[in-house]
Structures are given as C-alpha cells and as structure tokens.
C-alpha cells in the first residue's frame, strides 16, 4: 500500500508544486495519474518512488519490489554505448539475481530477445519501451510505475503494450501506476484516475473523469 498524507513539495525553497496531496493506493490498483503539462504528475511519481522527499507531509510505501519504466526520450541518451543485454545484465547484478536465464526469459516475454545485441540507441520507441519493461519485470515487481508509456511509440505498439500491462495487473496482482497523457488507454484500463490540477489532486472514476474532461472541453468550445 502507498499512503500520502498532506504532502507538499517545492524545489529548492521555490513555490509549492504540489500542495496538500492525499492519496492511498491499495494492492491490485491500476491508477492513471492525469493532468496538464507541468501540473506535477512526474514530481508526484518521483515522490512515490522515493527519488524526492516531500517538503512537508508523510509518504509510506510498503511495496518492496518497485520497478519504474521511464519515458524513453526523456531519460535515455541515444548515443549511449550499451546493448540491450548489457542493460538487463547490469540490472540483474544490481538486484543480486544469480541466474542469467532470467534475462532471456524477460526479453522473450516481451518478444524482443532477438534485439539482445543491439545498441539501445538504435531501437525504435516501441522496441525500447519493451526492453525497459523487460528490465522492470526482472525483479518480479509488486509495484510497477510507468511514465507516459505511450509517448514515442507507434499505435500498433500501444495496442500491444496496454493489454500486457492490464494482464500484469489483473492476473499477476501487480499494482500499476501510470502517468498518462493518452486518455483512451487511461479510461479503458485504470481502476481509478488521480487528477492533478494546480498542485492538488483527487481520485475519480474513469467515467467521472471523462465527464469532467468532456464538459470542461465543451465549456471551452462554447466560450469561443
């Protein structure tokens, strides 16, 4: 379980990016964190992952095996000289997993074993995303966090990716959190949405969020 109580966050004594955020995520949830650009979604994820500490408030996270799939283009340097196999092998060693077969298993699970000797920078967006998911699966995570999984990947890869995430959530009991821009997949897959607006956030059902979103857009169009 993840529990955020009255969380405030600001970078280096600046303005609060997140204010009084309260959030409880239970085992088996599939949460899509949605909101405008710059609303603080990625900061919220970094707080949950423990990469940032809150300026105020408390965060408890009982998940021991956390994995994170970053946005490909945000994080990776395409010129970085590393092969797919090396990425997974280093991760295996860091997690102290003894057997190398797990690399093969995870790459095969994502249908990208044939890419093992390719440089990560030479992969397409979809291939890279699959490799990063294969890496995340190596530690048998109980919490899997994605930062905009559909960014930079083609429609076909998106159609393959989301059912796979959904399957992990429903059949393998993995709690999933995604920072999401793709409304279609967010509404279709998540059990709850967490809407971040102006540094504050609230839970809503996918249907309620859709109604809220559509009426806001309709209001905007009507005003024009």
């Amino acid at each position: 379980m993840i529990d955020l109580q009255h969380v405030y966050f600001a970078y280096e004594h600046g303005q609060y990016l997140l204010e009084d955020v309260n959030m409880t995520i239970r085992d088996g949830d599939y949460i899509s964190v949605v909101g405008e650009n710059g609303s603080g979604k990625s900061t919220l994820i970094k707080l949950i992952l423990g990469l940032l500490s809150p300026s105020w408030g408390s965060i408890s996270n009982t998940y021991r095996h956390r994995a994170y799939v970053p946005q490909r283009f945000e994080t990776l340097n395409s010129q970085f000289p590393i092969t797919v196999w090396e990425v997974l092998n280093c991760y295996r060693q860091v997690l102290h997993l003894k057997h190398k077969e797990i690399i093969r298993d995870c790459l095969e699970q994502m249908n990208v074993y044939s890419l093992k000797d390719q440089l990560i920078g030479n992969l397409s967006g979809g291939q890279c995303q699959k490799v990063l998911i294969a890496r995340a699966l190596m530690g048998h995570p109980d919490l899997l966090i994605f930062d905009e999984p559909s960014t930079g990947i083609d429609v076909r890869s998106q159609e393959e990716l989301y059912p796979f995430i959904k399957d992990l959530n429903e059949n393998k009991g993995v709690t999933v959190i995604t920072v999401e821009h793709n409304l279609k997949f967010a509404v279709r897959n998540s059990t709850k949405m967490f809407h971040v607006v102006g540094g504050r956030g609230h839970f809503c059902s996918p249907k309620a969020y859709l109604d809220e979103y559509v009426s806001a857009r309709w209001e905007g169009i009507s005003n024009v």
Binding site: E12, K46, L49, G50, L51, R66, A67, Y68, P70, T75, L76, N77, Q79, F80, P81, I82, T83, W85, E86, V87, N89, C90, Y91, Q93, V94, L95, D117, L119, R135, G139
Partner: protein, 272 residues
C-alpha cells in the same frame, strides 16, 4: 632504450595509466562530468605543492588532497544543483590558489615543471610503488562496483529505485577520479591529464559498440596513445604530457577519418 631503469619505471606507470584513465574516463564522459576531471586535475597541483612542502610522496599527497576536493565538489553539487559550473570554478580557484601561493613563495625547492608537463626521467621507484598500489585498488573497486556504476551512468533514477546507493557510489567515484589523476601526474603532467581521461573514450565512442567493448577499445587506444607519446617524447626530447596529448588527438582524428571513409564507401555501394 629499456635498459635504463627510468624508462622501465616510466613504462610500468604508462601501462597502468593506459588502463585506469579510460576506465574512469568512460564514466566521466558518459555522465557529462569531463569538466570535473579537468577541475580535479588542476586541483591536484595543490596536493603536489603540499607534498613537496612537507617532503611527502607527491603522488600520495596529490591523491589525498584531490580526493578531498572531489568529495567537496560532490557535496556542493548536491546542495547547489543550479550552480554546478560555478562550484568547479570555486574549487579550481581554491586549489590552484593554494598551489601557486606555496610555489611562488619559494617554499618548495623542487622543479614543479615536471609535474605540470610530465617527465620520464623523474619517475622514481617510490612513485612506481604508489602508482601500482593506487591503480590496483582502483581497478578492484571499479570491478566490484561495475554494474552499479554502469546503471548510475545509464539511468540514475532507475539505479536508485533498484537500490543502488547513488550518494555513496558518487563519493567513491570522486576518490577514484582523484586516484586516476594522481597516478597520471608523473608521466603526462597535470595540464593534460584530462585529455588522457577523455580522448581515448571519445575515440572508442566513434566505433558505436556496446559498453564493455567500448571500454576495451578505450584501453587499447589509450595504450597506443601513451606508448607512442612516451617513445616520441624520448626521441625528440620533449615532455611526454604534450606529446601524448597530440598523439591522442591524432588517434581520434584518424578514427573519425576511417569512419567517414567506411561510411562513404557503404553509401557508394548502396547507390543503384
């Protein structure tokens, strides 16, 4: 040439430098920390000056003080993230200030020039022992922390989430950079150490291979650069630091030219 003891010492030290420098350089270059290497190599002059002042082994005193400055940069970089370059300037001013004050006040009665430009003649047996000890320890630490260092370099957030203690490893890495610089001072000199750390890696990166193979190529290029620099400097009687820097640049240009030739040949073949 190798019948001379000083040449044997120089060769042993050169061999170790050609392994340690690109190993550390690979992580520095890929983390975009090349300027930290440059700042620390200049900071090592303060360590040399303090060592000469108190009649300590200059390689070890350089290691001690450069490690201190390396850790200080890491601490300040964490506290003042927005002013990373400014921190390097402050450390550079402090360390070079200490060195120039000690040297210009006439407190040191040794030729400091050999530390700035490098020298084959001045590598003593004591230096060889300290260089061997520092190199072996550095190589052992790199081998032990290899997966953590690669992960931190490739994806720092992912590494932290996987349990890599990034803070501790960054401090250890700062000490490793200091060790690398200290072992290189005698042969290549303070002024061009950073070129030896970055250029073989830059050359190997042109080949677009995986991490381990790029690392191996960097060591090979570094070995060729240093050895040819050492031999040329012996024959033309120049400081090895300058000649090694020139051979490193020449090697980089050669590899870029080779790559371009291969690329244009492939393009020609592809044309209908």
């Amino acid at each position: 040439m190798f019948e001379y003891a000083f040449m044997q010492n120089a060769f042993i030290v050169a061999l170790l430098i050609s392994i340690v420098c690109p190993l550390i350089g690979m992580f520095l270059v890929l983390r975009r920390y090349s300027m930290i290497g440059d700042a620390l190599s200049h900071a090592s002059l303060a360590g040399v000056a303090v060592g000469l002042l108190f009649d300590w082994n200059p390689v070890l005193s350089a290691f001690g003080l450069t490690s201190f400055f390396g850790i200080l940069i890491e601490v300040l970089r964490r506290r003042f993230r927005r002013y990373a370059e400014l921190i390097l300037v402050i450390i550079l001013s402090l360390s070079v200030g200490i060195a120039i004050t000690i040297i210009s006040a006439g407190l040191v009665h040794t030729n400091v020039e050999s530390f700035l430009f490098g020298s084959i003649l001045t590598v003593s047996t004591g230096d060889v022992y300290s260089v061997v000890a520092l190199s072996v320890i550095s190589l052992a630490v790199i081998a032990r922390l290899y997966p953590q260092l690669v992960m931190l370099t490739f994806d720092e957030d992912g590494a932290q989430i996987a349990g890599v203690r990034s803070k501790l490893i960054n401090y250890i890495f700062a000490v490793l950079v200091a060790a690398t610089i200290s072992v290189s001072i005698r042969i290549v000199g303070i002024l061009v150490i950073s070129s030896l750390i970055a250029l073989p890696v830059a050359t190997a990166l042109q080949l677009r291979k995986g991490f381990r193979r790029t690392l191996i190529y960097s060591v090979v290029f570094s070995f060729i650069d240093i050895l040819s620099g050492l031999l040329l400097s012996y024959y033309i009687d120049a400081a090895p630091g300058g000649v090694t820097a020139l051979t490193s640049v020449a090697m980089l240009l050669l590899v870029i030219a080779y790559k371009e030739c291969v690329f244009s040949l492939q393009e020609k073949r592809r044309r209908p």
